[in-house]
């Protein structure tokens, strides 16, 4: 009997911990279902200048309404412009990475030349640099190329991003050399080896790079803010600051909608993601 209570208690600890993680999400959903009046009453003290006090929050809305969703989905065409912008930026970047990072990672993993190792080290250094460091040089480069204020100014730098190369490199590196050699003996060309051995065995790496990429690019905020001037080209991440305090309900609804693809992609790639994260930590 005592043992069971102890066991149940032990199960409760992770549950409580996960509750702490889930709470903000619950607040988000309840906020999106609350009416304008309720939100401004609860958040008013901290948002509206001249008022004293702290924001309050209900786990369940007092007067639930779908008004915010209706307003967002039916009355805000600008939201959809940004939604499709976001999708295009994300998809474009990911497709670009498949075209560029995938072969690059394969070459780095398999070539094994001195030059390759040097280049890879340079890649790593580039990867650990935060965006802010390369921002100015990026800006000048894009300006010279005439790409500023176009979607290419986001997609092209992302295409040549180093992080997916690093992730996929780990997976390709994990393929045993003997397997490659066996294929070579069987008369497989380099392309055949890449398509028939590299890709199937590195599938998890590719997928985790893509999932991580999606999650990152979907929430991209600094690059669009820096490189995109025209509002009609902005992605969703810049929609939220556009919403004023007057219509906070829309803000919550938009947040839920924005969150949705990320959750789906995460559910899809959860397994790869775990492997990918683990893979990037595995020592050779």
């Amino acid at each position: 009997m005592r043992l069971r209570i102890r066991q149940n208690l032990l199960t409760c600890i992770p549950l409580l911990l996960s509750m702490a993680v889930w709470l903000p999400l619950a607040f988000l959903v309840s906020g999106s279902l609350s009416g304008k009046q309720e939100i401004s009453e609860l958040l008013g003290p901290s948002l509206i200048s001249g008022k004293e006090g702290y924001a309050d929050w209900n786990l369940f809305p007092q007067y639930p309404t779908l008004r915010s969703y209706v307003e967002l989905l039916l009355d805000s065409p600008e939201f959809f412009v940004m939604f499709w912008n976001s999708l295009w930026l994300t998809a474009g970047s990911l497709v670009g990475q498949l075209l560029v990072a995938l072969p690059a990672a394969w070459w780095f993993a398999r070539a094994g030349t001195r030059f390759g190792r040097w280049l890879f080290t340079a890649y790593i250094i580039l990867m650990i640099m935060p965006f802010q460091v390369t921002m100015v040089s990026n800006y000048f480069a894009l300006n010279t190329a005439g790409l500023l204020d176009t979607h290419w100014s986001i997609v092209l730098p992302m295409t040549f991003s180093t992080f997916p190369v690093y992730i996929m490199y780990r997976f390709f590196k994990a393929i045993p050399q003997s397997m490659i050699e066996a294929a070579q003996i069987d008369g497989a060309s380099n392309f055949q080896i890449f398509f028939h051995i590299g890709l199937p065995l590195g599938k998890a790496g590719i997928a985790s790079a893509m999932v991580l990429g999606f999650l990152e690019y979907w929430n991209l905020i600094e690059q669009p803010m820096t490189f995109l001037k025209t509002k009609s080209r902005w992605p969703l991440s810049l929609f939220l600051p556009e919403v004023s305090a007057a219509n906070l309900g829309i803000l919550f609804a938009a947040s839920v909608i924005i969150l949705f693809p990320s959750i789906l992609v995460f559910l899809f790639g959860q397994e790869y993601l775990e492997k990918g994260l683990a893979g990037s930590g595995v020592k050779e």
């Binding site: 600008e78 412009v81 025209t230 509002k231 009609s232 929609f239 789906l264 899809f268």
Partner: protein, 468 residues
């Protein structure tokens, strides 16, 4: 601890993971499809709510005020024709609506009545004259009487004056006598050195003194009596002296003059042989007299003269600003093919019938015009000044206090280049029925909203119907 480890290492079974993957992909595709639908719906709804507007850039022009007013032809003057009153009408030669010329016979009447009336009046005149003579005679007599009574009054005055003067003198003499007596008695007593009381009795002295006092009173009375008598006499003179006013005589004189006037009119009526002629060209508008009836003191026939015809029309107070005496008008009359151009406005006056309206008159040559014909007058009056910014009147808006126009402003939004209505306050300089000249805050390239399919106000998003 094992339990915790188990929870930590919890993992979905392989099949569940696979099905979750497929479900996630399916859900993602559905999500995208849904978003596509909402994109289309929200755009459609957006385009439904945004007003569609038409714009125009301001032009540089003058403001021409065109005023069109309906009116009718009226006579410049209406003439009334009077038949002698009290005459029986024997025939009427015209009807209402007839056109007549000066000298045309209008009606005839019986002169027998008039002639009888003349003799009657003559007799009455003679009576009046006789009465006047009587009055005059009486007046002379009365005047003589008055003179006589005045003379008498004056004589009375003199007589009274003499009589009273005499009475005063007598009283004065008596008073002096009494005083002397008193003084004498007093003096004797004083000079008598062997004075004895029994010789001069007090009662004697007292009697003398009383006599003296009485005489003084008598004297004063006489003086007062004279004054009163003189006042009465003077009054009698004044009364006799008043002028005599001959009121009856004056009245009779006036009555005689009246009779003479009446007679001269009757003579005239007889002299015209009982016929009444039109005094001018024109149209008979009313015939008041009837055959067989006696004419009254009102006019028998009314004529609208056609020797001068007016076009009369009305304009509002607002329009009146642009209608001035001397402006040239173009007049189109019903039934006339050719408009009459460049006719000056002869007068403009406040309308008697419609408050707030003004009546203006244009003189027309009288050639074969029919009175009562309706028509329109057209006036064009240029502002005389070229305005830099002229917009269609439909573009001018007013919020009760200020005039303003809405211009189109481009903004960059998430939807791309969008147009927003932007309010610009303006000052209205001049306007006509379709255009307004304005000043302030506008350039020649500003696009101004002239029409919209929905109400537009400052800051509203708009769609342009056509690009200029």
């Amino acid at each position: 601890m094992d339990q915790l480890k188990k929870a930590w290492n919890f993992s979905l079974p392989a099949e569940a993971k696979a099905s979750l993957k497929v479900k996630a992909i399916k859900a993602f595709v559905w999500f995208l499809a849904l978003m596509l639908c909402f994109t289309l719906i929200s755009r459609a709804m957006d385009s439904l709510t945004i007003p569609l507007v038409q714009t125009k850039t301001p032009t540089r022009s003058t403001i021409i005020h065109q005023i069109i007013a309906d009116g009718v032809l009226k006579t410049a003057k209406e003439t009334s024709v009077l038949a002698p009153s009290g005459a029986m009408v024997t025939s009427i030669e015209v009807n209402a609506g007839d056109m007549v010329q000066a000298g045309d016979l209008l009606l005839t009447y019986d002169t027998k009545e008039i002639k009888f009336k003349i003799s009657q009046e003559q007799l009455e005149l003679a009576v009046l004259q006789r009465e006047l003579a009587g009055i005059n005679q009486r007046t002379v007599q009365k005047e003589e009487e008055n003179t006589l009574s005045l003379e008498r009054a004056e004589q009375d005055y003199a007589l009274t004056e003499d009589q009273t003067e005499l009475a005063i003198r007598n009283a004065g003499e008596k008073m002096r006598q009494a005083r002397q007596n008193l003084q004498k008695y007093d003096g004797v007593r004083n000079r008598d050195y062997d004075y004895k009381d029994e010789e001069y009795t007090e009662s004697e002295y007292n009697a003398l003194r009383a006599a003296y006092r009485e005489s003084v009173i008598d004297y004063d009375k006489a003086v007062a009596e004279r004054d009163v008598a003189l006042i009465h006499a003077q009054r009698a003179i004044d009364d006799a002296n008043t002028d005599m006013i001959n009121e009856d005589g004056d009245l009779k004189n006036l009555q005689i003059k009246l009779k003479q006037l009446e007679l001269s009119r009757l003579y005239e009526a007889v002299a015209s042989n009982g016929e009444v002629y039109a005094p001018c060209d024109g149209m008979i508008t009313r015939v008041e007299a009837g055959i067989g009836s006696y004419t009254a003191s009102e006019a028998a026939i009314f004529i609208n003269g056609t020797d001068s015809v007016h076009f009369v029309a009305q304009v509002s107070l607002e329009q009146k600003k642009y209608v001035n005496q001397g402006n040239l008008a173009t007049i189109e009359l019903v039934g006339e093919k050719q408009a009459r151009e460049s006719l000056p406005i002869t007068s403009i006056t406040p309308s008697k019938e419609n408050a707030g309206f003004y009546t203006f008159i244009v003189e027309l040559p009288s050639d074969s015009l029919v009175l009562g014909t309706s028509g329109t007058a057209q006036l064009k009056q240029s502002s005389g000044q070229t305005y830099e910014t002229c917009v269609p009147l439909s573009a001018l808006r007013n919020d009760g206090a200020n005039d303003y126009v809405l211009t189109v402003r481009e903004t960059q939004t998430a939807m791309g280049t969008e147009y927003v209505a932007c309010r610009v306050d303006v000052v209205l300089l001049e306007r006509n029925e379709s255009y307004a000249a304005i000043a302030g805050g506008l350039t020649g390239s500003s696009r101004i909203i002239t029409q919209a399919n929905k109400a537009v106000s400052d800051g509203d998003r708009i769609r342009l119907a056509e690009r200029e």
